[in-house]
């Protein structure tokens, strides 16, 4: 199970107040989170799915963008750790009255939450909050920047199937430009030594992506060839404001993941998708529902990984002994 290539002794705590992005984490810290998530998973198999690790801690899920999967996943994770949680959706809050993000955060802060899980449409929104809040900030997706817990759950899922991440060929295909999942995954996978290929229409290729240690190609076939992992990204039609490709039909023809195309990959390839899927656009249903798909495992693993993140940011074992 160990993918550790670094000589440094394993660490036992996350010395961070916030999780703003994978870019702030070292390879050892990533592995600590993944290892902790292994331990957390077992809790979900118990008849009583609850431990007292975060008893007395208040966690606010502050979501400025619609989200079912991520918010639910965080909420379940928080509850399994016995945290007091509350959900604030932007439309139901003072935001509609014109309150700024900073004021919303300061008002929450005045009620002394321990952690704020933030999703926001603006890149860097979590950084802004981390500078003004004592509460730990967990990034649940900020604009086109990062979605660190998604990358962590992806890595957790890959590790389950492939043991080690180092040396794997991982192809990430789709709307790269607008994807925070891409940015977090590129950070994480390159830190753990994977051979990362990205592919998609040139119009959706982020500037300077190759400087992040990945290979880019507009040929999906080239990216998929010999791949251990194929990760499809959602075409974020709601963020598309330009002329990025002619039609969904043409997109599917050129970039869509079909069973035929998947034959180029390794025989034990796994197919991933952060959801929600556009069936018949970036991924054919045959592939999404097929034997290589681990898409629903990703969702299950999300809970364990988020439990690990919450637990470690709250102080982990150190916090518990202090109680």
């Amino acid at each position: 199970m160990t993918t550790r290539q670094v000589e440094a002794p394993p660490i036992s705590a996350l010395r961070h107040k916030d999780l703003l992005g994978i870019s702030d984490l070292t390879a050892d810290e990533i592995l600590l989170i993944l290892d902790t998530a292994e331990a957390m998973r077992e809790i979900g198999d118990r008849p009583i799915k609850k431990v007292p690790a975060l008893r007395g801690k208040t966690v606010v899920n502050l979501f400025f963008e619609a989200s079912t999967r991520t918010r639910t996943s965080f909420e379940i994770a928080e509850k399994r750790l016995s945290a007091d949680t509350l959900n604030i959706a932007a439309t139901a809050s003072s935001v509609v009255k014109g309150e700024t993000l900073v004021d919303t955060a300061l008002n929450l802060e005045a009620m002394a939450p321990d952690m704020i899980v933030l999703r926001h449409a603006a890149s860097g929104a979590c950084h802004l909050l981390s500078r003004i809040c004592r509460a730990g900030i967990i990034n649940a997706g900020d604009g086109m920047h990062e979605h660190p817990t998604q990358a962590l759950l992806d890595a957790f899922t890959i590790r389950e199937h492939k043991k080690s991440i180092a040396g794997l060929k991982v192809a990430i295909i789709g709307d790269l430009l607008h994807s925070r999942v891409l940015r977090s995954n590129v950070q994480l996978l390159t830190k753990l030594g994977a051979d990362v290929w990205v592919s998609g229409p040139p119009t959706l290729m982020p500037a300077g992506i190759e400087r992040q240690g990945v290979r880019k190609t507009t040929s999906v076939d080239e990216a998929v060839e010999g791949a251990d992992v194929v990760m499809l990204l959602r075409l974020q039609i709601e963020r598309m404001q330009g002329m990025f490709f002619p039609s969904l039909r043409e997109y599917f023809t050129v970039f869509g993941m079909t069973r035929e195309r998947l034959k180029l990959a390794k025989h034990d390839v796994i197919i991933m998708h952060p959801g929600p899927m556009n069936r018949g656009v970036e991924i054919d249903s045959e592939v999404a529902d097929g034997p290589y798909s681990v898409i629903l495992e990703q969702v299950s693993n999300g809970v364990s990984v988020r439990m690990a993140v919450l637990y470690l940011l709250a102080g982990g074992a150190e916090h518990e002994t202090a109680v």
Binding site: S123, L128, G143, M144, A207, G242
Partner: protein, 438 residues
């Protein structure tokens, strides 16, 4: 009252002077600049060694925000900021509320400037009514009221046809069109330079060519019409290439570069503070290659002016998500130290060339009678201290706003005093000996 500034180094490129000269002023006029002028009853001001007397500096691109956005800046606070920065004159952009597209607004601004009695204010009028690109503003009326140029700054002149007409029309007054070069479709919803850093941070990009494409259009139209176009706050190397080429063809094109564009790069988006809204400006901080090209243009003469694009914003407006924050930073009070520290002291340009960039050329481009210490000229004078150590402290700015990325920067070079129409309107207590310029 006569005052004789004695023994200082005088740098006055318009008159070919750089050496020890005395400057005699009487009331609001310069009487004479010569060696060893006898006092003859004048009050003698000894200029200490190391201080330099230059023609008043002129920032040809500022936003004074009045009328309409007085919470950001007023003509009074903006001109107070200007004189602290060593500027005896500023040209203020028309994107106020309402837009300066008629004589009433121009007169209002000039009246506020007169009341403040600090720096001279030269309003820039709008090219089009409401700056909305549909119909020319009453440019002759604006000119008669005191405007020295026209611009739809904040946005580009909307169509090639309107730009053509504006250049043709303003040519009869020998007045330039000041252009904010930006192709709106390429800029899109961009908030930062398109490149590695914006990409990594998930910020929408604005490529350099969004600027240069518009510059190329306007230079071509200047050639066609014989009108004068001035490229504002140039940031992209492709734009500079277009300007050089246009000048080579004899087009009437000039350009300015802002201090932040020749000092900082898009790396500032990520560090020391990521998503700092005080590094959000339009055009954005660009790549190192662009920054270096701006420096080259300043050194080789293809850049005509340094202008700050002083753009005050209230801190509430900047304390928001990066995407939501307004573009722009203040610049009047940091310009001179940055220019000394980054241009003159490293030997990139001479002090004389700096004065061309900050005084002679802006005056020439806007056809304003300043920028020279000539006999009989109005006594607009700045006294500089090239070796003054300056630490930028936004809390001490005279501007109403503090939106600067330069806070805490330690720079060498500053201002000792600013004299407008023979009157000392600013003295820097930190520059030893500045008190004598009373």
């Amino acid at each position: 009252m006569k005052r004789l500034f004695k023994g200082g180094r005088v740098v006055d490129p318009a008159n070919g002077r750089d050496g020890l000269f005395d400057v005699l002023i009487d009331g609001d006029r310069i009487v004479r600049v010569a060696k060893d002028i006898p006092p003859d009853g004048a009050h003698v001001v000894d200029v200490p060694a190391g201080f330099v007397v230059v023609p008043g500096l002129f920032d040809m691109h500022v936003h004074l925000r009045e009328p309409g956005q007085e919470h950001k800046e007023t003509v009074a606070t903006g001109t107070a900021s200007a004189v602290v920065g060593g500027f005896t004159a500023v040209a203020c952009m028309p994107n106020t509320t309402p837009i300066n597209d008629n004589a009433g607004v121009t007169e209002y601004i000039l009246q506020k400037a007169a009341q403040a009695g600090l720096a001279r204010v030269y309003p820039i009028g709008a090219v089009s009514k409401g700056s909305n690109g549909d119909q020319l503003a009453d440019i002759a009326e604006l000119r008669a009221a005191g405007c020295v140029g026209v611009s739809d700054d904040g946005r580009p002149v909307k169509t090639a046809l309107l730009m053509r007409r504006a250049l043709e029309y303003t040519a009869m007054f020998n007045m330039p069109v000041l252009e904010h070069c930006e192709d709106p479709s390429l800029k899109g919803e961009g908030v930062a330079h398109e490149g590695y850093h914006a990409s990594t941070l998930g910020l929408r990009g604005i490529p350099g060519v969004a600027e240069s494409i518009m510059a190329q259009r306007d230079i071509a139209l200047a050639e066609l019409t014989g009108g004068a176009v001035h490229i504002c706050h140039m940031s992209a190397m492709e734009s500079l290439r277009a300007v050089r080429e246009g000048k080579g063809h004899g087009a009437r094109v000039t350009c300015e570069v802002a201090p932040h564009h020749f000092t900082m790069t898009d790396e500032a988006l990520a560090s020391p503070v990521s998503y700092d809204t005080n590094v959000k400006m339009n055009p954005p901080l660009r790549a190192a290659a662009d920054r270096d090209e701006m420096l080259k243009g300043i050194a080789d003469g293809s850049v005509d002016c340094i202008a700050t694009d002083h753009a005050p914003h209230h801190y509430d407006e900047k304390k928001v998500e990066f995407d939501v924050a307004p573009f722009g930073i203040v610049g009047l009070e940091t310009c001179v130290p940055i220019c000394f520290d980054r241009l003159v002291h490293p030997g990139l340009i001479t002090l004389s060339r700096l004065i061309e960039l900050l005084s002679v050329n802006p005056s020439r481009i806007l056809n304003v009678a300043s920028g020279a210490l000539s006999d009989g000229a109005v006594a607009d004078i700045t006294i500089l201290v090239p070796d003054l150590q300056v630490t930028v402290d936004p809390a001490r700015f005279k501007s109403k706003s503090r939106n600067t990325p330069f806070g805490g920067w330690q720079l060498k070079g500053g201002v000792a005093a600013t004299i407008v129409g023979g009157r000392t309107v600013y003295m820097n207590d930190a520059a030893a000996g500045a008190g004598r310029f009373k």
